[in-house]
């Protein structure tokens, strides 16, 4: 048993943290999310340079064989810095290519992902499915060796900046995963409330390349989705830590009735409850990340991931709401970073399933 990061993890996380401090501060982020593109190619290049984009890919495709545990510290740093770069969608779609694609497809895609040249997104969600991964309406048609897909994928995170999309669709043998060029889809672009770029992806007989289909496809999607859930938990832990730290600072400096508001016991106890929620969330994230990496048992993995997401969703809500409340009016303004952290945590609480979904999933295991 050992909760310490290893040397490589520490070094890389430190680099990422330094990069965010130096080149991705709140002012810089403000400019990025206000830009038409909504992401920063320089920042992306820097992350690729550090090896972040390659980390969770196999060494044989220029990756570093890393897993969720290796990404934990980085995702925390992203959460603290509210980084909006399309890392999470790219890594998830990349792992789907790995899980479902042929050797040739892996060779064609993954090294370009590792190098940072190619960004991906996973187009799966459809209207009416909510968090049920098995509900897919998009249909793939085969004509000779060529496939086309028709359907509407919604709220696809990272799609506006992705070169290729991994798309799920119904095939004669059940569910399939496909690669399409983003330019073959019609995108309705959208900047979400947390500063991310997403798109509705409308497919009309869009040219597609089959990665794989059949009975095992849903299990692959579930596995990658659990991987993403664990990572977003880590991101939440970073955001919660920031929210707690900045609230504590505020309690120590803001004065009312002649004393700092941190001297009011009611606020102290609420601050303690935020802190405990944040620490317990960190523990659950450790569990989720390590199970995602270590276990081959889907049930054991789902058990840990759903438990973590329940805790993280609850804590994200508690901490984001309390952080704004304890900041008073200032917490409500665009000008303070905590209001952006509030928004990201609000979205994370629902991303990859809200706590109601995971309560049901956990209960059914």
């Amino acid at each position: 048993m050992n909760f310490e990061s290893n040397e490589e993890q520490r070094l890389l996380t430190d680099s990422v943290r330094r990069f965010i401090d130096k080149d991705y501060d709140f002012e810089k982020r403000r400019k990025i999310i206000a830009s038409p593109e909504g992401w920063d190619s320089n920042a992306w290049a820097a992350l690729a340079e550090m090896g972040v984009t390659a980390l969770a890919l196999p060494a044989e495709y220029d990756g570093f064989d890393g897993g969720a545990v290796d990404l934990m510290g980085i995702m925390e740093a992203f959460g603290a810095g509210l980084v909006v770069e399309p890392f999470l969608p790219t890594v998830l779609a990349g792992r789907l290519v790995m899980a479902a694609g042929s050797e040739a497809q892996r060779r064609a895609i993954l090294p370009r992902v590792a190098s940072g040249e190619l960004r991906l997104a996973f187009a799966h969600l459809e209207r009416g499915a909510r968090f049920d991964l098995s509900r897919v309406g998009a249909e793939a048609k085969r004509t000779g060796d060529a496939w086309t897909i028709s359907g509407e994928k919604r709220a696809v995170v990272g799609a506006p900046v992705a070169g290729k999309l991994v798309v799920s669709a119904r095939t004669p043998s059940g569910l399939g995963l496909f690669l399409i060029d983003t330019q073959d889809a019609e995108l309705k672009r959208h900047a979400t409330v947390d500063g991310m770029r997403v798109a509705d992806v409308l497919l009309f007989n869009a040219k597609a390349e089959l990665l794989g289909d059949g009975a095992a496809t849903l299990a692959k999607i579930e596995e990658v989705n659990d991987f993403g859930t664990a990572l977003v938990c880590a991101e939440a832990v970073g955001a919660m830590k920031y929210a707690c730290d900045t609230t504590l600072d505020y309690l120590k400096t803001r004065k009312q009735f002649g004393v700092t508001i941190g001297s009011f016991q009611a606020l102290q106890h609420r601050m303690v409850d935020m802190y405990i929620a944040s620490e317990l969330s960190r523990s659950m994230t450790c569990l989720a990340c390590s199970k995602v990496d270590a276990t081959g048992d889907a049930k054991e993995r789902a058990h840990a991931v759903s438990a973590a997401k329940i805790k993280i969703s609850d804590s994200a809500r508690l901490i984001s709401q309390e952080a704004v409340q304890l900041h008073g009016g200032m917490g409500m303004t665009e000008e303070l970073k905590v209001s952006h952290t509030f928004r990201r945590l609000t979205v994370i609480a629902e991303q990859f399933g809200d706590e109601d979904y995971h309560l049901t999933r956990f209960g059914a295991l």
Binding site: L125, E126, R127, G128, A129, R130, F131, D132, R135, R154, A155, H190, T192, V193, V198, D200, K255, Q256, F257, G258, F264, A266, L267, Q321, V324, Q325, G328, G329, G331, M332, T333, E334, E335, S339, H340, F342, R343, T346, V347, E350, D354, D356, Y357, L359, T360
Partner: protein, 383 residues
Amino acid sequence: MDLNYSDEELVFRDEIRSWLAANLPQDLREKVETYAELTRDDLMRWHRILAQKGWVAPSWQKEWGGTDWTPVQRNIFEEECGFASAPPLMLFGLHMCGPVLQRFGTQAQKERFLPRIYNGDDFWCQGYSEPGSGSDLASLKTRAERQGDHYVVNGQKIWTTLAHYADWIFCLVRADPSTDKKQDGISFLLIDMKTPGITVRPLMLMDGVRHVNEVFFDDVKVPVENLVHEEGKGWTVAKYLLGHERMSAGRTGVSKRELAKLKELAASQPGNDGKAIIEDPHFRAKLTRLEVELMALEITNLRFLDEMRRTGQPPGADVSMLKIKGTEIQQTLTELMMRAADPADLEKYEVLARRYFNMRKTTIYGGSNEVQRNIIAKMTFGL
């Protein structure tokens, strides 16, 4: 004990209801129902319709346009407006400056300002909070120095709702910085927003909309006749307003409308199993608890009104619980709406998320809920 409205009250309610059905412009109703931003014109248009009907300021003294309604009738009116999706009335003139002038103003001030407030000629805003004084209002620093026939005002206000729409602002200012007790030496001033030296700077809230502002005063000259009550007695005026503010804080009419909308929404949005999200037991439990809280708030509100009716007294510190529960309910309503929305529906989610963000302010402004708890602890409990 009888929790039902009397026959007369039911007749009154039906009158209000049918008048609203006939006179609330459809476009305004739709804007309210879709949470669209209301412009100055939208707000004033509705104000003037009500003014023309004579219902814009029910609680005012009869001679200035009040309706002589009972507390229960006033509550029915507010409930019905809320339930009908009427735009909010801007309270700064009607519920704050107006009552203050009627209680503390000179005859000249009343004649000059009250009809214009009533008719919607002037848009008012409130200059209370300052960067250093939020909940601790009495520590405010904006200075008003007497120079001949004028006060010269210097300082800064913050969280000034819709100051960018306003013709006038009423301010708490410090007339005398040397008093021992910080509550003393505060004056209540009326200031024309067009006076040179006033700068309004937007303060964008996290829903991305301009609701509030910072207002800077730089050697702003205010005629002494714009002083309300005596110099240094502004705190008396502010305390008088406090009770007024909290009594309407429950906002049960609006919340009942929103609850109905939430149920409709939840019945139309998908859950995880193909059924509507309203059938998800976890979601449903939250919805039911919210409905129960709203029922409890509504009846508690009626209990206070009944007590006011019987005793003729304004409610005591307990009314703070209406503010606490009312705002908690409003926040939970917006949170559940956001969560009911299909996450695949970007437009719907965004509108509802921004509304959720915006409503976080309700537990902060108008005396934060922490301050309301302090008030109950001190005044009701004697702690």
